[in-house]
């Protein structure tokens, strides 16, 4: 079966103003809204569109994390994923470990595409997709803003510093999504009801044969140095004068 694997991550919602805990041990997540990482939502949307064009038959969504992540998997099922895989763990998972776990899911599911968000907006690492592609020995097309499937190949346009780059990759391949790839659909109430009946399989992370321990120790979280409010000027002339005074013009 032509299958697409999409991995999603539960993160602090995009609109939450994240604050560092006073003791520097992390950021405040108690009572904070959690959502699917926005880039991963775009990944899922792209997978659904490929399926809707008849170029894939099944969309499987996966996540790695504690029991609470089921909420995000249910949302993904409501968006249209056919079934979900939950790699259950309470451990803090770093990208190399996530990539190794996803590699196991790739073995299990044999997808033609794995689509991931280009980065998670919590740790901002931007590593997992590339690492999965390396472990799988398959192509990667990162930061995608356009994906076209042509038989056993894909043409992917990527957002790079120089502009837009187009690659051709053989399938199977890993794609990571940039913001302008698509606009994810809204979930409708009947879909939420339907999603409750869709299959959700739980796999104990420890049973997959991947060591879960962290290689990096996060010693201390600090708020960034604050920039203070400056002066207000009343017109363009005052603005230009102020810049001249600072030696900037």
């Amino acid at each position: 079966m032509k299958r697409i694997l999409v991995s999603i991550k539960r993160v602090v919602d995009y609109n939450v103003r994240v604050r560092v805990k006073p003791d520097g041990s992390g950021v405040i997540t108690d009572g904070v809204k959690m959502s699917i990482n926005p880039f991963d939502e775009i990944a899922l949307e792209e997978a659904l569109r490929i399926k809707e064009k008849g170029l894939a038959e099944e969309v499987v969504v996966a996540t790695i994390g504690p029991a609470d992540c089921q909420q995000q998997l249910r949302t993904a099922l409501a968006m249209g994923a056919d079934r979900a895989l939950h790699v259950l763990t309470d451990a803090a998972i770093e990208p190399p470990v996530a990539a190794k776990l996803l590699r196991k899911l790739v073995d299990k599911e044999q997808p033609i595409l794995a689509i991931l968000g280009k980065q998670a907006i919590d740790d901002d690492c931007s590593q997992t997709g590339q690492m999965l592609a390396a472990l799988w020995g398959r192509p990667q097309a990162t930061f995608a803003s356009k994906v076209e499937i042509n038989g056993d190949k894909a043409s992917v346009t990527r957002e790079v510093d120089a502009g837009l780059e187009t690659l051709e990759v053989d399938l199977p391949a890993v794609i990571t999504t940039d913001l302008r790839l698509n606009e994810p659909r809204y979930v409708k109430l009947p879909d939420i009801m339907k999603a409750k009946k869709k299959p959700l399989e739980t796999l104990e992370a420890a049973s997959l044969g991947v060591p879960l321990q962290s290689a990096l120790q996060l010693l201390k979280f600090e708020a960034p140095a604050a920039r203070s409010r400056g002066v207000m000027v009343k017109d363009a002339q005052e603005l230009v004068d102020a810049l001249k005074k600072k030696g900037l013009l």
Partner: protein, 317 residues
């Protein structure tokens, strides 16, 4: 002692300034031996530029026809071929480095630190998380080989060296895949300064209202010798191309002067500019969050103010 391999970024002819910034990050680690690797079809010119960066002890020139375009799938096995014996492997936190370095880390089975903003020692680094709302100090166990991308806005480019470092040719022995092929790149090549390295940046937001209206920013940028940037909202709306986007998911920049017109100042945008020396904000809305961090703020209509600034600057007033 640390031995640091830096993967050079270049366009086939010129070394990207991001590489000299990686060298500065590596120099912050005591007693580091710094080796720059240039992967190209013909890397002689770029290798010579890398050899002239102060702090570089040696340059490895890896020429191969497959390196005509920087494809992560092709480059990663070559970097992995060179990596044994190095304590650290660095690349810039540009789209080039962000694409390549995790693939290298996975091949080497090492952890990666993304967006390193400070090296406190060979094993202790600082990096941003949560769109820069948290700065985290990270420790890696001594003896662990580490891959990292260097946040270029956090480092000055290393200066030119008094004497050039030796250049050594290295043959590719790694097997290179053919499953990934370069097709094309389309970028607005302009005569304006590069956004990531420009001393002055003129940037616009959704309030510009159209791609045509963005022209007034290009005119001001040309008057100031500045690069042009844009907020995500402006890029999403199609007013500016994607390579101008500044922010968490676009470019992180540190110009001397950043002029923001019609940008409200979402946290994701501010994270891309907070290393700017001076931030100027012009916005119709006096409550716009960008005024909280601007050094100089002006409430008003950008369509009047932008041309007026251009006129005042060009007339020397």
């Amino acid at each position: 002692m640390s031995k640091i391999l830096i993967v050079a970024e270049h366009d086939g002819a010129k070394l990207n300034p991001a590489t000299a910034k990686c060298v500065s990050c590596a120099k912050a680690i005591a007693d580091a031996e710094i080796v720059v690797a240039v992967f190209a079809a013909d890397g002689a010119a770029v290798a010579a530029q890398a050899a002239a960066v102060s702090g570089v002890t040696r340059v490895l020139q890896v020429d191969h026809p497959a390196n005509a375009h920087a494809l992560a799938a092709t480059l990663a096995p070559q970097v992995a071929q060179l990596a044994p014996g190095y304590s650290h492997v660095f690349g810039p936190s540009t789209t080039f480095g962000k694409d390549l370095m995790p693939r290298v880390a996975a091949l080497l089975d090492t952890p990666q630190l993304s967006d390193v903003m400070a090296a406190e020692s060979a094993t202790r680094f600082r990096r941003p998380m949560y769109a820069g709302n948290a700065i985290v100090t990270v420790e890696v166990a001594a003896g662990t080989q580490l891959v990292a991308t260097v946040r270029t806005a956090s480092f000055e480019a290393a200066p030119a060296a008094a004497a050039a470092a030796p250049i050594e040719a290295v043959a590719v022995t790694a097997e290179l895949p053919t499953h990934t092929r370069f097709v094309s790149v389309s970028g607005a090549r302009s005569d304006r300064p590069d956004l990531q390295t420009a001393a002055r940046v003129v940037s616009g937001g959704r309030a510009l209202g159209s791609a045509d209206n963005f022209k007034i920013l290009y005119d001001l940028a040309d008057t100031l010798g500045a690069a042009v940037g844009a907020s995500r909202a402006a890029v999403d709306a199609g007013y500016a191309p994607n390579d101008l986007q500044v922010g968490q998911t676009g470019k992180i920049i540190a110009p001397e002067l950043y002029l923001a017109f019609g940008i409200s100042g979402a946290i994701q945008h501010l994270t891309g500019i907070k290393d700017a020396r001076t931030i100027v904000a012009v916005n119709k809305d006096s409550e716009a969050p960008i005024f909280e961090i601007a050094d100089i703020g002006l409430v008003g209509d950008l369509f009047q103010i932008v041309p007026e600034i251009a006129r005042l600057v060009s007339s020397g007033k």
